[in-house]
Amino acid sequence: MSVDLEKILRPVDTPMKPYEPKYMLLASGEAVVVRQVERDEIPDLLKHVEPLLHVERDFYDVVAARVYSELLAHYRHRYQDQYVLAVQIDGELAAIVNGRQVTPKLGMSLHTLALRRGLRVGAHAFAAKMEYHIDTLGHDEVLIVAESPIGFRRWMIEYKLEKRFDIPHELGGVPSWALTRELFDRARSSLVVGRRPVPDELLDKAMAAILPPSDPPTPPLDPLAATRSMYDPTATSLMAQRWEMEGRSADA
């Protein structure tokens, strides 16, 4: 008699209320839509996350690797009670946030991955995630950690999170912090924005396709490369450059 191992390995997801999409304007004047991503859309996200595994700055590599594994596990039914929200600008992917429900009263934030920077896209995405936990799912608190200093400033400091250091977080087993309902209510007026319902035109564009980010984070370049290339295209030393200007060769 054969045993259907898949029935054993696949977690049974708890039904969770869907996230109601919202939209907002960024400082650039662009409208962004935040919406829940269905399981069958995950492959579209994965191909935009994968390049970030190679971005060795601001912990993009660590976060992208973990997000990739979480999304893939979600897609392949190996992660229980996970949800994924996407932030899109004209269909273009600007951020991904995900988390999970631990119990009906406790949420766990997983990751916030911003693919557009400098416009608080990540901060807006995180706020939407907390809104989903507290307002939609009815969690009393959400366990949170940060992998990067930017994340620490955005979550722990801006939301004034409480310590839950006795609870190891699923991300790396590090001590948890918590956003309580009370903290979220205090932050609501200054950090949580968005309008509903989303106009059909905006939502249709977001739902039609998850387009690749036009300006994703890239591996760090030499920021002085532009200056250097003005006079040092061969990457020789300053002294060699000076000799060249003087009409001398390096062999002289």
Binding site: L26, S28, G29, L119, S190, L224, T227, M230, D232
Partner: protein, 391 residues
């Protein structure tokens, strides 16, 4: 007194630069030396405000000279707060004008992002009066906010005017590949939309996030030469025609009227007098917009507009590219960034770029006369310069 010309200019990208200070200054300097076509200099001045405190490095000019193999040139660092850059240009000008030197390299450099924002803010705040201001926790954003509130009450400047300066300058930086901020912003996004208060929160009311310049690393450099040397080098003849510097009380509260920036007024007046020019002669200007309010007020104090009418000129587009007096067309401090010791030199870099006609998308058509205002302290030490293209 001999005439002094800018024969070469150089700059680095303004951003976060994880390089030694002397290397940043050296790259900008090499660019300027190559631009000028010189390999030897008589004197080097390096403008910097924070290296001993922020970068744990002193004797910066010696390091730069060594990095560039410019020995045995004379070398000295100049620290004069945020006006260090133009103060170093003034020193270089004096050296050439006096006949003491023929070729002077002036470099400005700062690496502020080595420390976090709190430490960077504290470091800049050390320029305030130690007993009357600093010990009470005053920072430059706080100073600027109090100043702005008074100016709003007195002259009718609104938060919209401030945001208009921010949008103008940050978006101008999109035409400057060396600028720190390469992100378009709109009035709707930072002021008018329901999300604006979150996108653009108050930093020190009434100043918001987009009213302040970014904290930047970067370097800029000029090569100053005598007329004889300039003609020998064959570069465009850009002459520094006016130099004005003035001071005001260290503590802002001691001023009879804090909304009057008397040091700006006098430095500009002296620079224009020395050059035999008036403000209306200027084709393009660089004003020290560390905070958006400062561009509006400086545009009045230097004489471009009557007192209290800078914001009206702004509304009419007079200060934008294509206006009667384009200001900060390369982004200003707001868009280009503000590595404090480099800023005064970077302002001159932009003006020389304009007068050479190399401004590309941000070029002011037919620009021949340029002006810079480098604002130190909270208006207690100001250097203004005028530049004229002669050929």
């Amino acid at each position: 007194m001999r005439d002094v010309y800018v024969a070469g200019i150089g700059i680095t990208t303004f951003t976060r630069l994880e390089y030694p200070l002397s290397e940043i200054a050296s790259y900008a300097s090499m660019m300027a030396l190559k631009d000028a076509g010189v390999t030897e200099v008589d004197q080097v001045y390096v403008a910097n405000m924070g290296s001993p405190r922020v970068n744990h490095q002193t004797a910066l000019a010696s390091a730069v000279v060594d990095s560039l193999s410019l020995m045995p040139a004379g070398a000295a660092a100049i620290e004069n707060g945020p006006a260090s850059g133009a103060s170093a240009i003034k020193a270089g000008f004096q050296a050439v004008a006096s006949g003491m030197e023929d070729v002077v390299l002036v470099a400005g450099v700062e690496r502020m992002r080595e420390v976090n924002n709190l430490e960077a803010t504290d470091f800049v705040a050390t320029l305030t009066h130690p007993l009357a201001e600093y010990i009470y926790g005053v920072t430059l954003p706080a100073h600027a906010a109090m100043f702005t509130r008074m100016y709003m009450d007195r002259y009718g400047v609104t938060e919209r005017h401030l945001a208009m300066v921010g949008v103008k300058n940050q978006n101008a930086a999109l035409n400057n590949v060396w600028a720190h901020l390469q992100q378009e912003i709109t009035l709707e996004g930072i002021l008018d939309s329901p999300e604006a208060m979150t996108n653009n929160p108050y930093v020190a009311e009434p100043l918001r996030f987009f009213d302040a310049c970014p904290v930047s690393d970067g370097g800029a450099a000029l090569v100053l030469v005598s007329e004889e040397k300039a003609r020998e080098l064959g570069r465009p003849m850009i002459r520094i025609t006016g130099v004005g510097q003035a001071t005001d009380t260290h503590a802002v509260f001691e001023r009879e009227d804090p909304t009057d920036l008397l040091a700006v007024r006098k430095a500009a007046k002296d620079a224009f007098a020395m050059a035999g020019l008036s403000p209306s002669d200027v084709d393009v200007a660089e004003l020290h917009d560390a905070f958006t309010i400062l561009e509006i007020v400086e545009s009045e104090e230097v004489g471009f507009f009557p007192k209290g009418e800078g914001h009206i000129a702004l509304e009419k587009g007079e200060t934008a590219l294509g206006g009667s007096i384009p200001i900060n067309v390369g982004g200003g401090l707001k868009g280009r960034g503000h590595p404090v010791g480099a800023t005064g030199v970077a302002q001159a870099w932009e003006i020389v770029t304009q007068l050479r006609g190399d401004g590309e998308a941000r070029q002011v058509e037919g620009a021949r006369i340029g002006f810079t205002c480098n604002f130190g302290g909270f208006g207690n030490n100001v250097v203004c310069l005028t530049f004229v293209r002669e050929d």
